[in-house]
């Protein structure tokens, strides 16, 4: 899991460990790429808004590496950030968790969504799964 906010990392790690997963929290995109190359994970939870290297950039780098390209990536973002919600919902197959996190599974690489914010405001976004 990749998030530049230590409190978020700790919370996510605790949640996942309680459910029996082995969590590897990382605070930056660069360290995430390093960790993934050292020991490829089964799944990556990736914050979008991070300094230096944002989540989309990290995902793009992952997809360039043949050893890492197949690893599923779930983007996470703070619930209150409207732009991220628009990105997530516009991609389809989106959902929101009952917690403060919103998750989007990246099934087709790291291309940013094509739906514009204007279209989103006009109600042209895919609806989140129930």
């Amino acid at each position: 899991m990749v998030d530049d906010t230590p409190a978020n990392l700790q919370m996510l790690a605790d949640i996942l460990k309680k459910r029996g997963y082995r969590a590897r929290p990382v605070p930056s995109g660069r360290l995430a790429l390093q960790a993934a190359k050292a020991d490829p994970p089964d799944l990556i939870l990736l914050d979008i808004n991070m300094p230096v290297m944002d989540g989309y950039e990290v995902c793009t780098e992952l997809k360039k590496d043949p050893n890492l390209a197949a690893i599923p990536v779930i983007f996470i973002s703070a619930y209150g950030e409207t732009a991220d919600k628009i990105h997530a919902f516009s991609a389809g197959g989106s959902t929101t968790s009952p917690s403060r996190f919103m998750w989007r599974k990246s099934r087709h690489g790291c291309r940013p969504p094509t739906t514009s914010p204007t279209a989103a405001r006009d109600g042209k976004l895919a609806r989140p799964a129930a």
């Binding site: 590897r24 929290p25 360290l31 960790a35």
Partner: protein, 51 residues
């Protein structure tokens, strides 16, 4: 697994365990490393370990 490998791979729990083991022989260093690991500052750990 040595501490360097654990930090490079972001094996948080393993890094905590290894730093805990270090506390018996080098408590001051262990305390500093523990602070770094607990804040996920893996780069800081690697910097302390040197090349």
């Amino acid at each position: 697994m040595i501490l360097r490998s654990a930090t490079v791979a972001a094996e948080y729990d393993k890094a905590l365990e290894l730093v805990g083991d270090l506390a018996a022989t080098a408590p001051a260093a262990a305390e500093e490393l523990l602070r770094l690991v607990r804040t996920f500052d893996y780069q800081g750990v690697m910097d302390r370990l040197g090349s």
